[in-house]
Symmetry: C2
Subunit: 518 residues, 2 copies
């Protein structure tokens, strides 16, 4: 301190250390990148929770600057040199912390180098403008307002695809970033498996829709009680509020600024109380994952989550596999009955359990039930692939949306708000990310099978609100592995099997045959 | 887009543009610095409003990284070269936008170059650790817990002083950053003027304390009503909530992420309703200034506020000169009576006006009245100067605090919470900043005199809630000038006089002689 000159050369990040230990240099550099990217995440959280409308334009520029700096610093030759020095020192082949850090960093370094900084910055700017356009379009319930931005997003995504894999099918090229290890054709085959069994299952359920009483779902619950219910569920499972928060937003999300500050958001709709409760459980699943990431690797790519598919397996696990299970309701219904309005007292546990598992074709993905949800995702996958391949035009999206909804679910939106304007993803330039949701479901089914085998009294534990063995198992087998394994490897490592739809489909068929007496 | 290579060299900020127009290059570079520093401000706001405790450590690192980057980028030789190129092109002598930007940037560049990046980063880290230590010490009501951190702060400030002005008295050296243009001796003389007339004024008021009924102040007002009252007052004056927010924190503050997003915070104490209302008006004064800064210079040092003293003149203007004036209460009391509990209905306008102007020696600066406030500031100035000069030890602060409080105000704290632990400033490494508060008061008195001369029907306007002419005048004469003028120049430019205590003292003596029938 007090040393150094005022005219040190500018650098995007810590550089020129060259102390004895290459890992100290590498970690310090990666930490700087992480600091900048987590700062950007704070700005993103604020943008979607508390930022007044007047802040939008400057915020976009601020985020763009941070994202560019983080990208430039990470992808700079200096990082490559440090990785090469580490390899030259024999680091990267073993199973020690440094080996893992070097391996994962190399992997992410190559992936990140595929995109030039200018494109990263452009994407970031577009994401903010896109979000604004999306909000405007939603307000007017008019897809045409959003279409010009979506066209730009598609163009940018084509560029991205070309840079990521000039020889690959464009969708597969995007998957190298969003679902590394999977091809678009593999996803299509998996989705075909799902369609083959889920479309008939939805048909059988719809034919017997009257077997579940929707009355509990249609009761109004005021904002404050819903908020208390979300907090109670999160506390029961063990979400650490000393290292996290729950806030309000339009579209629920989870974001992390380090394992010590992991935030989730939800939206309260007084006429649909299930939305806030289950979206809170969903985002909490993401949040538990982030709170449990390995501290020893924090600030390096190894300390991140494995993939968005694995992330989604965690959110779906808590939202559905746990949160919509009979044992969970045996545990939680007495608590909820205390919080909820007195009219709820007339419902039995079984009525509540069935009501929250009510299944049937609806228009909104985020409000869809466990079974139909996947068909919503498949629709989006098909549209994204068509847009990217150029076999579909942006202006055709509303029409195609209606047609495919009819094919897959037998219902069609009458406006854009319940059609293609419902998702935030494309507005933020998030493309080829929907498949991860259904992959997550599929994997949650595989995890369920494994957890049940390894914790035989699972249902009894849930029934008495003892979640620590479950979160402990997940911490040890998933969270603590960070990004050491990618999706396919991790699933094989944890379950002993490849990613496969079987366990998930069996789970759905068993559960819903029971609920609907099929 | 899609151009450029993946291996662009790292840089803290946009560099290497060298397009035809030097001002485009300079503005772009300054904008990057601004983007990074505003991002850091977002992190700072979040830290003091919504951040869970677990986030503190990582947040400190994240802010330190951003502050270092902004500082490095701004102080780099590249900025100096751009400024030299602008000068060579004849820019900087006239009165055009580019001239102002070059002049102000040069001034701030030289000031910022005085500190090496390592020291800036160290200060930033220390600020976070210091805030944590301060919160802990407050919880335990024990200055000793905070003392080791304060010692470090003082050491760092000595280094800073040495770097800013090796030949100057250390306090004057710090003032080159916090109150440029003023020496410590000048401040001391101004403060002596104030002491000479304020100590006797406080004495006379105290002797007739019974002439103001404290009853309205001691009524309990619940949190929600207080919140509504703050919002109502802010809306009435014209605070733009489309470009700002009000949130809760321990110690009220204002922060800005651009003219489109200017946030203030307050604290609600149900037993002291005046605190939230007047601190909201105070911070709103800061916020109006930031919302009104010149858009044409935003993202450059010229687009910032003139100084913290001018900033404080704005907050004090709305808190006291307006907010505690009889015309304001003629306007606002009917509104407040609607919001406040029914017990308030028994008080007359005159009783309310006098109650909110109740004056007398108390222990907490931020709760002090308009008159005694300055004596609190003078005490802090004396302690800071002593610590810096080495004529006082950190461990002696509680004792000296008690002694000087007795001399200046005739009261002394019995614990540390109501003594030296009450202010957040030192914990964040903010030193030599207290004098600006009283300078702000002094200047608010000068502005009052000028505004009254230029808007003759001022009281009538306030009485009917027509604040636009006043905020318009301030926008034109203060806000819109950004940092083009420093404190002394701006006061001379606006009022035609040097900074002088006369108008402020005359205002206080007239107002309080009336209220206390002296």
């Amino acid at each position: 301190m007090g040393e150094g000159g005022a005219s040190a050369p500018p650098s995007a990040c810590a550089g020129g250390f060259h102390v004895a230990d290459v890992m100290t240099d590498l970690r310090r550099r990666l930490r700087e990148v992480w600091n900048i990217s987590r700062a950007s995440a704070v700005l993103g959280w604020d943008e979607l929770t508390y930022m007044p409308p007047g802040g939008a334009q400057d915020r976009g520029e601020q985020e763009a600057t941070l994202d560019r700096l983080a990208h430039e610093c990470f992808t700079s030759d200096e990082t490559g040199k440090l990785l090469a020095r580490a390899r030259a020192a024999g680091i990267g082949r073993g199973e020690g912390d440094d080996d893992v850090i070097v391996r994962v960093t190399e992997r992410e370094y190559e992936r990140a180098r595929a995109l030039p900084p200018s494109l990263v910055e452009e994407r970031s700017r577009l994401a903010v403008a896109g979000h604004e356009a999306w909000v405007k379009a939603r307000r007017a319930n008019d897809f045409a307002i959003f279409a010009p931005t979506l066209k730009k997003v598609v163009e940018t995504q084509r560029e991205v695809a070309h840079l990521r894999g000039p020889a690959l099918d464009p969708y597969t090229a995007l998957l190298t970033a969003t679902l590394p290890g999977f091809t678009a054709d593999e996803i299509e085959r998996l989705f075909d498996d799902l369609k083959r069994r889920l479309v008939p299952l939805v048909g059988r359920i719809t034919a017997h829709a009257d077997r579940v009483d929707p009355a509990p779902s249609s009761l109004r619950v005021d904002d404050d009680r819903q908020w208390q219910a979300s907090l109670a569920a999160m506390r029961a499972v063990g979400y650490d509020f000393g290292r996290g928060r729950l806030d309000r937003t339009i579209h629920p999300f989870e974001t992390s600024f380090g394992t010590g500050d992991v935030r989730i958001t939800t939206r309260v709709d007084e006429d649909q109380w299930e939305f806030a409760l289950f979206s809170s459980l969903h985002e909490m699943g993401h949040g538990l994952y982030e709170q449990g990431l390995p501290a020893r690797w924090q600030g390096t790519p190894a300390g991140e989550s494995s993939s968005s598919a694995i992330h989604e397996s965690q959110s779906r696990f808590f939202e559905n596999v746990i949160g919509r299970s009979r044992p969970f309701w045996e545990f939680f219904w007495p608590t909820l009955r205390e919080i909820f309005p007195p009219e709820f007292a007339r419902f039995s546990l079984e009525e509540m359990y069935r009501a929250v598992n009510r299944c049937g074709p609806t228009l909104i993905r985020t409000e869809a039930d466990e079974v139909t949800y996947n068909l919503h995702v498949i629709l989006r996958f098909e549209i994204e692939r068509g847009l990217l391949a150029g076999t579909m035009e942006v202006n055709d999206v509303p029409r195609v949306w209606r047609d495919r909804m009819t094919d897959l679910l037998g219902v069609a939106p009458e406006d854009d708000l319940t059609g293609p304007l419902q998702d935030v993803h494309w507005s933020g330039g998030s493309f080829a990310s929907f498949p991860s949701y259904t992959l997550g479901n599929v994997i949650s089914g595989q995890l369920r099978e494994t957890v049940r085998a390894e914790i035989p009294d699972l249902d009894a534990l849930i029934r008495r609100g003892a979640f620590a063995p479950i979160t402990g198992w997940l911490r040890e087998n998933i969270y603590d592995l960070g990004a050491a394994y990618e999706t396919k490897e991790l699933v094989r490592h944890v379950t002993g099997h490849d990613v496969e739809a079987g366990p998930y489909l069996a789970y759905l068929e068993e559960k819903f045959s029971d609920i609907y007496d099929l």
